[in-house]
């Protein structure tokens, strides 16, 4: 069933979209997302994927075409990054409000200015409140499998929401990894064809995207919020099915290192692997430290996160975006909200690192740990590695 191949992770994601039998792919080139849609356009050109490939003139139109295609009842995929995601911003809210199960890969990248093609999470953190299901992957295998799972989650009639798979630009997208591929038969059994709840069908006319007068707008918003909150058990269910099928242990929140550790790193995305290595090394030195990985970012899995941090006295939250004018990075803000009022809530130490592609070697996480233990990090947040001459 599984075939192991050394492959660039972007190409593995394209393969996932092919295996998912997408009907329509709309795409605009943006680094470091390009390899995914280039590969998909080759599949279509060679007849290896029976789909319409729409090479649109902007990311705004990529998302707009995706909305049209999904509304027509087609399984729809797109991918973007950074400025492209920002250009889609307006339409992202509409896609979720219309309950259209578009799947999008975001190759996470920093935002201008200054222009930077390298990785951090500032693009997606500006899109926290769009009402999409959002997951973060850490490695290539996960990128492949969650990309297929994303269609199953999005298209489930209990969800019907667009879904983003976040993967770190370059650090993950351009990495060559050994990846196990399922065959088409397995994927077909896992992912049934898209059955839209509603589509633009002249035999059954519907009006989509009407005017929301003040008497109905709030209720419409509440319904969208409820749909997003209700997606959590479905995400869990799909991950469980995936685990069964491929022998994985994906969960909404994951823990590494020492159980019930006093200090825990909290990570999201590929830096989690570096942190994991640091935590293992620290554990080997007898240090009381663990790691909590957030896989599902929206809807935020509050209960699962609290359970995964049980017993911790201190959380070192690694943020990959700056939230100017706020008291800390966006993930730390989220966790402070989650923990507020909780009995024995751990202290939050926030480190913002790896901004604009700045390298954070494993050794530096050990350093961060030592400084946190000594109480030498900022009470608000620490911009790690900031050159004081800047």
């Amino acid at each position: 069933m599984l075939k192991r191949v050394g492959i660039e992770v972007s190409l593995a994601v394209a393969e996932a979209v092919r295996l998912a039998r997408a009907d329509v792919i709309s795409a605009y080139p943006i680094t470091p997302q390009t390899h995914i849609v280039e590969e998909l356009s080759h599949y279509v050109a060679n007849g290896e994927l029976d789909a319409e490939f729409i090479p649109v003139e902007s990311e705004h139109s990529a998302m707009s075409a995706a909305v049209g295609s999904a509304a027509a009842g087609a399984r729809t995929y797109t991918a973007t990054s950074s400025q492209g995601l920002a250009l889609m911003h307006e339409i992202l809210f509409i896609a979720s409000a219309m309950r259209l199960p578009i799947v999008m890969t975001v190759a996470n990248r920093s935002l201008s200015g200054p222009i930077s093609i390298w990785n951090d999470h500032s693009d997606i953190m500006a899109e926290r409140d769009i009402g999409w299901v959002q997951l973060f992957v850490e490695d290539g295998q996960e990128a492949l499998e969650l990309s297929m799972a994303a269609f199953k989650i999005a298209e489930d009639h209990r969800v019907l929401l667009p879904t983003i798979i976040n993967m770190d630009g370059f650090i993950l997208t351009h990495m060559i990894e050994p990846i196990e591929f399922p065959d088409q038969k397995t994927v077909d059994a896992f992912l049934p064809p898209f059955e839209p709840a509603m589509r633009l069908d002249p035999a059954h006319p519907v009006s989509m995207g009407p005017v929301g007068v003040p008497e109905v707008y709030l209720e419409a918003k509440k319904q969208c919020e409820q749909a997003l909150l209700d997606s959590k058990p479905v995400v869990k269910e799909v991950l469980d099915e995936l685990n069964e099928l491929f022998g994985r242990d994906y969960d909404l929140v994951q823990t590494n290192g020492k159980d019930g550790a006093e200090t825990r790193f909290v990570t999201m995305g590929s830096l989690g692997e570096s942190v994991y290595t640091a935590v293992e090394a620290l554990n080997a030195e007898g240090k009381d430290v663990g790691q909590t990985r957030i896989r599902l970012w929206r809807p935020f899995p509050v209960e699962e996160f609290l359970a995964a941090c049980k017993g911790a006295k201190r959380l070192i939250v690694i943020d990959r975006a700056i939230s100017p004018g706020s008291v800390c990075g966006p993930v730390a803000q989220e966790l402070k909200s989650v923990l507020y009022g909780q009995p024995n809530a751990p202290e939050i130490v926030n480190v913002i690192c790896g901004i604009g592609g700045r390298d954070v070697p494993i050794e530096e996480f050990k350093e961060i740990y030592a400084l946190a233990q000594a109480g030498k990090l900022e009470k608000t947040y620490t911009l790690w590695g900031l050159n004081s001459n800047a």
Binding site: V24, V56, E57, A71, A72, T76, L200
Partner: protein
């Protein structure tokens, strides 16, 4: 480039076989005398129920869709202001893929409606992109020459000399100081199979153009003159009269561009002076005799240019 276009699917509409069923129900919320909604009704009568409509944000979207009501008898979608063409691209591609895979049987018309703001200005990019990619859909610009939905602000379709809330006439200004962008020509430059201008005062001409636009394979663009009594400062019952004057003065000539060939569909033997058209409209009432003379000169020059295009493209052989 000149090329032959297959119009075998086109069946001429006359007063006898004119379709009566509009996809826009009465009871919508358009202003009294709105010619724009009238035009939309004419287009959808021709298109018939096997149609999917995309609406850009604007008057026509607002007046037909306040939830829980809808005036639409066909599948209809509104996403945003600037992206009707991109949404239509997605719908057309989605339907195409599903049809090829045997998941759906029918082949509906895809029609996008946008006002002049969403066509000339903010949606220009997505329209150009969709035309260039060759999606099989009809784009109808309902041109009322300003942003009427937000309170009569100027657009790049606002004619020279018109007073709007953001190009007001004043001691130092004539009102709109630029010439109207020539959208039909810009669309024709995309080398799409069908482009036309249409005027609801000439309803059979308009409806036949919709027929042709839907019959061709690929993108079609119809530029529809949509008189706005509210924004133009005219009496509600005079909309069609004003619309007729626009064509009778050669200010809005009726023509089509099929496979690159320009042809008039209605020629005015003795054009009326432009003053006849300008005078009844409040937006032009500040204009002096000198201004009117200047506008007349522009109208004549534009018409002359169009005549040259007709001659040039019909003299040349197809490639």
């Amino acid at each position: 480039m000149l090329r032959d276009i297959d119009l075998s699917g086109y069946k001429k509409i006359t007063a006898k076989n004119m379709p009566k069923e509009s996809l826009v129900a009465s009871g919508h919320r358009a202003c009294q005398g709105c010619v724009e909604v009238l035009a939309m009704g004419m287009v959808t009568k021709v298109a018939g129920p096997n149609t999917v409509v995309v609406n850009a944000t604007g008057c026509m979207e607002i007046i037909t869709s306040p939830y829980p009501q809808t005036a639409w008898k066909c599948p209809w979608i509104h996403v945003a202001f600037e992206n009707a063409s991109a949404v239509a691209s997605g719908i057309e591609s989605g339907l195409k893929a599903l049809r090829r895979k045997g998941k759906i049987g029918d082949n509906p018309n895809v029609i996008a409606f946008g006002g002049d703001g969403s066509t000339f200005d903010i949606g220009f990019q997505s329209l150009s992109g969709a035309l260039e990619r060759g999606h099989n859909f009809l784009y109808c610009c309902l041109d009322n020459e300003a942003y009427m939905n937000t309170g009569v602000q100027r657009s790049s379709a606002t004619p020279y000399g018109a007073s709007t809330t953001t190009s007001p006439a004043g001691r130092e200004s004539i009102g709109q100081q630029t010439q109207k962008k020539n959208m039909p020509l810009i669309c024709a430059a995309h080398n799409i199979p069908y482009v036309a201008t249409a005027n609801p005062a000439y309803h059979l001409d308009l409806m036949n153009k919709v027929q042709k636009a839907l019959a061709v394979d690929g993108p079609a663009y119809i530029h529809i003159y949509a008189v706005c009594p509210t924004g133009w400062g005219i009496k509600g019952e005079t909309g069609i009269e004003i619309a007729k004057l626009a064509t009778e003065t050669n200010s809005f000539p009726l023509y089509e561009v099929v496979g690159g060939r320009f042809n008039f569909t209605k020629q005015i033997k003795k054009p009326k002076p432009i003053l006849d058209y300008l005078k009844p409209q409040r937006r032009f009432r500040h204009l002096t005799e000198k201004d009117v003379a200047y506008i007349q000169k522009q109208v004549d020059a534009d018409y002359d240019y169009l005549e040259r295009l007709v001659r040039a493209t019909n003299d040349a052989p197809a490639e």
